[in-house]
């Protein structure tokens, strides 16, 4: 992760350069949908499927973000993230667990020496409807509790009011608070709706110093979409072309099965390239996806589709 941090610090671009990128944003909706639908016909079988499924596990931010979350629930989920399938040592650990700030220290305890990260949502996730001072406090608390990664939301109020500068400045401030902690910035694509908006928000978030851009909070009915992921990938590519900085993408919200997850991997592979197929550059935020992936892995290896009770709950 330290490598990413150095990159971030040296590549954060000014508001003026970000505005330059925004000016040329033009996305054609029909073209985006057509490209996604064409990539969705890729046929992933046998070895390539197993490899893809292992990628998905290793890129998974196992998530619970509920008012009812307790220490007990976090213990269970974190243990599962460390060893998703206790009967199969070849299955990697998940990338991280993603929790609310008040449960960061609980997750940290269980993580121990494993390399699973603890990610915390902050900045008054999911709405972000508080002043920046409160967002900074929220974020600072999560960091003090030991979070390795911080998932913030952009200020959609400011975005829709046309105050892109405010959206940018808030992310810059939160990134400063994060220091060397990994910053993922949630665009909430289901609210932004248009691909032009998604591309603009992506470029603002990248210009302001985010390490990752993330599709959704998972808290509204419109979660991630492959189209949004494609548009974000285009933004990440463009940002790399102009600054040299490689940012990551996290897709979250509504991704529940292996087939769907593999289609995201295809988009990333064909649009950004092999380098992005690593937990350093691509993540899935999900709660139930992991179980389906584990079952598919077991099926590929044993040719038997196992009931869910063969896998520990998280």
């Amino acid at each position: 992760m330290s490598k990413i941090k150095d990159q971030t610090m040296s590549s954060k671009v000014s508001w003026e350069s970000t505005i330059g990128l925004l000016d040329s944003v033009k996305v054609d909706e029909v073209g985006v949908k057509e490209r996604v639908s064409s990539l969705s016909t890729r046929s992933i079988k046998r070895e390539s499927k197993l490899q893809a499924l292992n990628y998905v596990v290793s890129m998974c931010d196992l998530t619970t973000l509920e008012g009812e979350d307790t220490e007990g629930k976090i213990h269970q989920m974190t243990a599962k993230a460390i060893k998703p399938d206790p009967t199969d040592d070849d299955v990697p650990s998940a990338a991280a667990v993603c929790v609310y700030p008040s449960l960061v220290s609980t997750a940290k305890e269980i993580i121990g020496t494993s390399n699973v990260k603890v990610a915390s949502v902050s900045s008054y996730f999911p709405s972000g409807q508080v002043p920046i001072e409160s967002k900074l406090l929220d974020t600072q608390y999560a960091i003090d509790e030991g979070a390795d990664e911080i998932d913030i939301v952009i200020n959609r109020k400011a975005f829709f009011e046309g105050d892109y500068r405010k959206v940018f400045d808030e992310i810059v401030a939160l990134k400063e608070a994060c220091g060397d902690k990994h910053l993922k910035t949630i665009l909430e694509v289901g609210e932004l709706r248009t691909y032009d908006n998604i591309k603009k928000a992506s470029l603002i978030a990248l210009g302001a110093g985010s390490d990752f851009i993330k599709t959704s909070t998972g808290k509204i009915s419109n979660g991630s979409s492959k189209e949004a992921c494609l548009v974000m990938a285009k933004a990440v590519y463009e940002f790399k072309e102009s600054t040299g900085f490689s940012a990551g993408i996290k897709v979250a919200g509504g991704i529940r099965n292996s087939k769907d997850a593999i289609r995201y991997l295809i988009i990333i592979k064909e649009e950004l390239g092999e380098e992005w197929l690593s937990p350093n550059f691509f993540r899935f935020g999900a709660s139930s996806l992991l179980d389906d992936v584990l079952r598919q892995i077991r099926k590929l290896k044993t040719n038997a589709y196992q009931s869910s009770y063969y896998f520990p709950r998280g």
Binding site: G31, T41, R46, E47, Q51, N54, E274, L277
Partner: protein, 479 residues
């Protein structure tokens, strides 16, 4: 972790059964050819011989035309709604057996299975459904009841979309009450032969659809046969001119759908990433074996470098190989002859001074293959900017103003199709108004629908296929 490669995902060819030798389909059944000459149809991706097909001679064509004349007696007494039923039956049967057709098309022609499966076959069925619908509504199509079919129609189709071109021709011809003698291309006869089996299976009245296989000599016999009332041809401009000469002194109908050298105009205010996709689809779809392919990329000069950069990166992700692999984007070149033509034109382009980019990829050791190619630094006077290459080769030209774009786009003997890419609606309309092309796509390319007429200007031919206008290719309006 290791690089993530897609494992082979091969569509099984066990679904098709190919006979070693085929006759012609005349008078409702397969018959022994009069001609004893055969030619071999090979799979362009493996060079394996798939079957022997008869080279129909004068007598074979004669039998087929006579059969069509007999068939016309029945067909003209068949109620239009009954004609529609046969076409609906064909459409449904094609859908039911679409996997079989798609595999056969990819084996015989070399196109990737994802295209024959997701484009050709759905379009084939859609055309039969569409024209079936017109069969009993011809009186309202042009507001007159005074319309008569030509009678016996000779149809000659190309090798790039073998079954789809059959559908474009056979469906409207039968719907309007004509009977047909069809000659498929010599390199891709197999799906037409399978279609003939369907005609037998649904009990299409004898003589309504006849099929004579063969080469150029067979086509020539058909064109010159005095029993034919109409010729519909899709193929090269040189053959089209031959046909026009041959029928010049006879009172018969003629529709020609010939070559193209379409301009794909990308303005600096286009959504560039999607324009790149459209340009790739425009030229590399079906290995560039598309008469309306966007083979001339016209770039506004100020976005040239950025666009070419994106385009080359995108081209590099194209997957060239086995047409039956579901992940193949670019299949085999249709024939050895076509490969030689492409190669020679590309060499000429390099000698003229064009800068050639070809993607890096492994090519199979047997079969006919050509790497997706992009020429920059091309002047409008070079042959690669003027002649139809009919392969996966894109030629780039630049322009400064919309006026100049239109001038360059129209500076060709062809006029089949064109593309315009800009986010500004008014500029789309301004440009489209001034382009001499039969089909113009805006912010997309290579989109087809049975209800939309297709056809060219200038040396790209005349007559329209598809839509209400397509009916006129098979009807004589008498009032």
């Amino acid at each position: 972790m290791d690089k993530w490669e897609y494992s082979e995902s091969i569509e099984s060819d066990s679904i098709v059964s190919i006979q070693s030798k085929y006759g012609h389909f005349i008078d409702g059944k397969f018959s022994t050819p009069n001609s004893k000459k055969y030619l071999k149809t090979v799979s362009p991706s493996t060079e394996e011989v798939l079957a022997s097909i008869s080279i129909g001679n004068k007598n074979d064509v004669d039998s087929a035309v006579n059969s069509a004349k007999e068939g016309l007696k029945t067909w003209s007494k068949t109620a239009p709604s009954e004609r529609a039923k046969y076409l609906y039956k064909l459409a449904r049967l094609i859908q039911e057996r679409s996997r079989e057709f798609a595999v056969l098309e990819s084996m015989d022609g070399g196109k990737p299975i994802k295209e024959s499966r997701d484009f050709d076959l759905p379009q084939v069925a859609a055309n039969f459904f569409y024209f079936a619908g017109w069969a009993d509504k011809l009186d309202i199509s042009w507001g007159t009841k005074e319309m008569k079919p030509y009678g016996v129609v000779g149809q000659i189709i190309p090798w790039n979309f073998p079954l789809l071109m059959l559908a474009w021709k056979v469906a409207p011809a039968l719907a309007t009450g004509n009977t047909v003698v069809l000659k498929p291309a010599e390199t891709t006869p197999l799906t037409a032969l399978l279609f003939a089996e369907l005609c037998e299976e649904i009990g299409l009245p004898k003589g309504v659809f006849n099929l004579v296989t063969g080469d150029g000599t067979t086509g020539s016999e058909l064109v010159n046969h005095e029993g034919i009332s109409k010729i519909a041809f899709t193929g090269s401009t040189s053959v089209g001119k031959y046909i026009q000469n041959a029928v010049g002194e006879r009172d018969i109908g003629l529709t020609l759908e010939l070559g193209g050298k379409a301009a794909n105009i990308v303005y600096n205010d286009a959504a560039l990433d999607q324009a790149v996709e459209g340009v790739v689809n425009g030229i590399f779809f079906n290995q560039g074996h598309v008469c309306c392919a966007g083979s001339r990329l016209l770039l506004q000069e100020d976005i040239h470098d950025e666009f070419i950069n994106k385009l080359e990166k995108r081209m590099q992700t194209l997957r060239v190989g086995n047409p039956l692999d579901k992940n193949t984007d670019i299949g085999a070149i249709n024939s050895k002859e076509q490969l030689e033509k492409i190669t020679s034109l590309v060499n000429e382009g390099v000698n003229d001074g064009g800068e050639l980019f070809q993607i890096e990829c492994d090519l199979p050791s047997s079969g006919y293959w050509f790497r997706p190619s992009l020429f920059t630094n091309v002047q409008p006077s070079y042959n690669i900017a003027r002649e139809e290459i009919f392969g996966p080769v894109l030629t780039t030209l630049t322009f400064r103003t919309p006026e100049e774009a239109v001038e360059i786009a129209n500076n060709t003997e062809y006029g089949l199709s064109a593309g315009v890419w800009t986010e500004k609606g008014s500029k789309i309309l301004w440009t489209a108004d001034r382009l001499d092309a039969g089909v113009i796509w805006a912010n997309t390319f290579n989109k087809f629908d049975p209800s939309s007429p297709f056809g060219g200007y200038k040396e790209s031919g005349f007559g329209r296929e598809g839509g209400r206008h397509g009916l006129l290719s098979y009807l004589k309006v008498q009032s």
